[in-house]
Amino acid sequence: MTRWLLLFSTALGTIVVGVAVGPSGLDLRSVVGGVLGSAGEPTVTIVRDLRVPRVLLAFLVGGSLGVTGAALQALVRNPLADPYLLGLSGGAGLGAVTAIALGAASPWAVPLAALVGSLGAIALVYRLALIAGAGLDVRVLLLAGVVIGAFAASLMGAIMALVPAPEVRNALLWLLGSFSRASWPAVLLFAVYAAVPLVILYRLARPLDLLTLGEEPAGYLGANVARTRRTLYVMASLLTAVAVALSGIIGFVGLIVPHAARFTWSRLHQTLLPATFLLGGSLMVIADAVARTAFAPLELPVGVVTALIGVPVFVALIRKWAA
């Protein structure tokens, strides 16, 4: 119980810190006034319409990437699995870069194109994996994901080589990830959408525990391995697809947070998944706060910061794991 209290207060604390700091250097009193609506006009708008939705979106996306990573690591029984492993980033990148290269004019064109690209990649990988049988053979699934991802990435490379230089630069910025698109509509959209796959993944906690034991033991212990795998793959992918569409490709959260949660928390998915969600959200909020403020008014790509924080943590985990 106290452990959960600790985790919840960590999450809440990072959200408060995320809202409190920003490139415009408002003091704490102004931020509080901004939240309550009692401060002056630019302050209220900056805090209420920029910082709060941005911090919330970062938390939701970070948490979702963490949960997806944990689920996929159990699905493919590989500690290196992350939400982008199965071809999703390639598909999303291809969609986004295509929209940017075509000079997309509508505000939602790039996110929608990224979503379409991810869904295309998910469908192709799923179809390929089914060739080896309805049970989604993990080896075939992994290979299909890597192959489709590589194919999409090379198409993306070809497009980037053919479009003028400024568009290439803008596409690269998108690929590195950012929460600069955060707004209240984006937060609400993501919250409503993510609720369904998150709940379904949580309900798969017990079969996920069994899957980590291996396919045969899981079957003996009552899991419907084939159906669990299919649901798991589709839900995890759909969740990541929308995260990518709204914020680009942000690495390492989905890879290291599940491991950190396993070390410090529990290997049982019923507790691991919620813990991963809270930890992933917290890490993302902190990473985004660093991205916004470290070199203000310049902004670092948030994917760069998660990697800068994530790699040392990952190295420490490997040392501990191997020892």
Partner: protein, 290 residues
């Protein structure tokens, strides 16, 4: 770096005194000594801004290769393209048998310069970031390429005009404040290191990101909202999608419709025509403000 370049210049000068007839020794902006046999009649230009400048000073008919994008003026379209300016295809360039390859001076081009020089092709790196770089570039090109008598006059005229515009300019801070946006997600703004920022000052306005001494940089949306420009100036030919996005309405210039979208081509790089834009720019800013 600059003291080293100075030493090299001095050395080049000494060499020039004892140089062969018809050979000009110079040092370009990357610090490389250039030995081009003047007049150079086959020029490959790896920068749209230099292509335009070469046409302006009367060397257009000597260009035998240009970059794929940004062919200005119209006549440049007739010149064969050698592909991209950054990380170009060496073979395509060599096939044009150039006397010299001219490039935009940026660290990104260092590898290209080394590779070209390694196969014996003369290169000339020219700085083209700020307005005062334009006349200097015109003189350097005329000097190295030879036989371009009109270039000095054009450069002088540009400088005289730049001086008079500067004298006319009202002190910074009194005009409308402007943020120049090159891309919207994530936001990329034009900093004080760009000629666009200078044009804005000459037009009587002030770039709210003039303190960033780079040509452009990714910034957070919050810092744009906080610096609260009177006008948002969109460059690069992109559509103003910022109007339709909830998060951009936190910028009061967007909320109030103080948005100006400028045609990409003439605002893409500095040129001898750049000063013609000052009137247009100040008129447009006045227009959107009224």
């Amino acid at each position: 770096m600059s003291s080293r370049a100075g030493t090299v210049s001095l050395l080049a000068l000494l060499l020039a005194c004892g140089g062969e007839q018809g050979t000009v020794y110079r040092v370009d902006h990357a610090g490389h000594p250039v030995d081009v046999v003047a007049p150079a009649t086959r020029i490959v230009s790896l920068s749209p801004s230099l292509t335009e400048l070469l046409f302006a000073i009367g060397a257009g008919d000597r260009i035998v290769g240009r970059t794929r994008w940004g062919a200005l003026p119209r006549a440049a379209e007739a010149v064969p393209s050698v592909g991209d300016g950054l990380s170009p295809n060496l073979e395509t360039i060599l096939a044009r048998e150039p006397d010299v390859v001219v490039l935009y001076h940026t660290p990104t081009n260092a590898a290209t310069i080394d590779r070209l020089r390694a196969v014996g092709v003369a290169t000339l790196s020219v700085r083209m970031d700020r307005l005062e770089d334009v006349p200097e570039a015109a003189r350097l090109l005329a000097d190295v390429l030879g036989d371009l008598p009109g270039a000095d006059t054009l450069a002088d005229r540009f400088e005289v005009r730049l001086d008079s515009l500067r004298r006319r300019t009202v002190p910074s801070g009194s005009g409308p404040s402007v943020a120049i946006l090159a891309w919207d997600a994530p936001p990329v703004v034009i900093g004080g290191g760009s000629f666009l920022s200078q044009l804005l000052e000459l037009a009587g306005a002030h770039n709210v990101f003039a303190d960033l001494d780079v040509p452009s940089a990714t910034v957070s949306l919050e810092s744009i909202a906080h610096r609260d420009p009177d006008v948002l100036l969109l460059v690069g030919g992109g559509e103003p999608t910022v109007l339709d996005r909830a998060e951009w309405r936190t910028v009061s210039a967007v909320e109030e419709g103080q948005i100006l979208s400028l045609d990409g081509d003439s605002y893409s790089w500095p040129s001898l025509r750049s000063l013609d834009l000052v009137e247009e720019l100040s008129g447009a800013i006045r227009g959107v403000r009224s």
